[in-house]
């Protein structure tokens, strides 16, 4: 129990941010029309590629002799950037197709 209280005490700011961002996310996305659900999803999918920042940090922080960490980090960066670049590129391509009557 004290550990939980301590955790809350030490991470109060984080918890605030977490909750506020959840609300922002819900409010921003709630009213998106069904027409745009697929681009929204692939755009959001590209955003989840932000995990690449962590993958880069793994490589930057790795001991130069720690080949395992470097190798896994390398794969993580490749996969993350595929997610980012591919996701944004395909969303862009899709949105190009949505046209309105002139």
């Amino acid at each position: 129990m004290t550990e939980i209280i301590d955790f809350i005490k030490n991470n109060l700011e984080l918890i605030y941010i977490l909750i506020l961002v959840i609300f922002i996310g819900v409010e921003v996305i709630k009213h998106i029309p069904a027409v745009l659900h697929t681009p929204l999803m692939s755009g959001a999918n590209a955003l989840s590629g932000v995990v690449i920042v962590g993958a880069i940090l793994v490589m930057l922080n790795a001991d130069p002799d720690n080949y395992l960490a470097l190798g896994l980090g390398f794969v993580a960066v490749v996969l993350g950037i595929i997610n980012v670049v591919g996701g944004f590129a395909v969303t862009n391509r899709m949105l190009h197709m949505f046209k309105k009557k002139k």
């Binding site: 955790f7 991470n11 996310g25 989840s48 962590g54």
Partner: protein, 462 residues
Amino acid sequence: MNIYLSIIYLVSTITFITGLKLLGHPETAKKGNQIAASGMGLAIVGTILLHELEVPGFIYGLIAAAIAIGAIIGYVIAVKVKMTKMPELVSLFNGFGGASAALIGLVEFGQTSGAISQVVTIVAAISIGSLTFSGSMIAWAKLNGTMWKDIRLPHYNLINNVIFLGLILFAAYIVWSGASGIIIVSLLCLIGLLYGVLLVIPIGGADMPVVISLLNSLTGIAAAITGILYDNMVMLAGGILVGSAGLILTFAMCDAMNRSLINVMFGAFGGGAVAEGDDSHAQTGGTIKKATVSDVAILMNYAARVIFVPGYGLAVAQAQHAIHELEQLLENRGIEVKYAIHPVAGRMPGHMNVLLAETNVEYDKLAEMEDVNPEFQNTDVVLVVGANDVVNPAARHDTASPIFGMPILDVDHAKQIIVNKRTMNPGYAGIDNELFYNQKTSMLFGDAKSIIQALITELKGM
């Protein structure tokens, strides 16, 4: 952390929120995507260039190489993919994001100081990342058709729930005991992978939009958890935004199929209750009326308002271009044409809209269910192509029907209904669709593409 880097992360976070907001309107969506993408670029470049510690040059070289390789692969896939393959693509990319989070967790597990909060986040990143990865890969394989159909082990619900519980308990055990070592962490990873496979394997067909949304949401959560690990705000904010977006879509898809998320996660998921597409019914509930192409052409030619109801069967038959041509032909004769699109039409949320937009159908012709339902009663002709359960009136009144309660398109309110299907094969297991026996309904049998093309030819001769 370097203050400039913190500022960059702040700016990136703002671009993510703005970008998502702008994605919500067709006019601004493209800009929104570009803004979010530039924010992401900024965060990546900032992370590399403004790192505080001394890093040997070859590591920078490796990072650059990894980014170059991945960027090229991602870009090539994105440019080449067909729009019918969007659900596969999103699953694939989503799986990569999950794998990336799991790998980060694996590396950090070997380096952690053992502080509880750190171990919790690492263990969570590994579990969620690995289950998202394997789940997405199975979803990809199933959508791609490279994998066998829905597999249901005996008692798969029980097995799934036991494994899910096992995953949580094992993760808790690692945190509790402070256990470490490569065997422990590999085992955790394996259980996560196994659960992901078992979660998705029994699901198929029209249930895919729910699964894809859910997996998308989970990747976001995995990214956010790694953000907590590094105390990195841009990862946290970006991940949570994706997590909420995915969850909202998941709930929207559940609503559209009249299911709860609990039912989806732990219940009779993918029980085959909702099967969309070219499924026929098992038993006749009356007589059906057949129409010929020229009957339908005449009907349409003298109509004032026509609504098309496309289902996934339309995309399977590759008839999107044909139906757009038919729409233009009718419009040129002063007939008002719209497309009524059910929220779960296609294999991911909004998929049908994209497929039609690709053929240059204007997006204001794509009507959502709530908007179009009151309009059916003033519509002369409805043409249903490759959709079935989403137009079955039994969902409104037949409490015994497995789809009872599911919101449907009220096409039976229209004056004339034309249903295009390949066959009326009575031996096929499926749900009886009383729409087919409606007095106002005529069946037009044949392949969607050739039937629509024949309609166009017939109309042009009038």
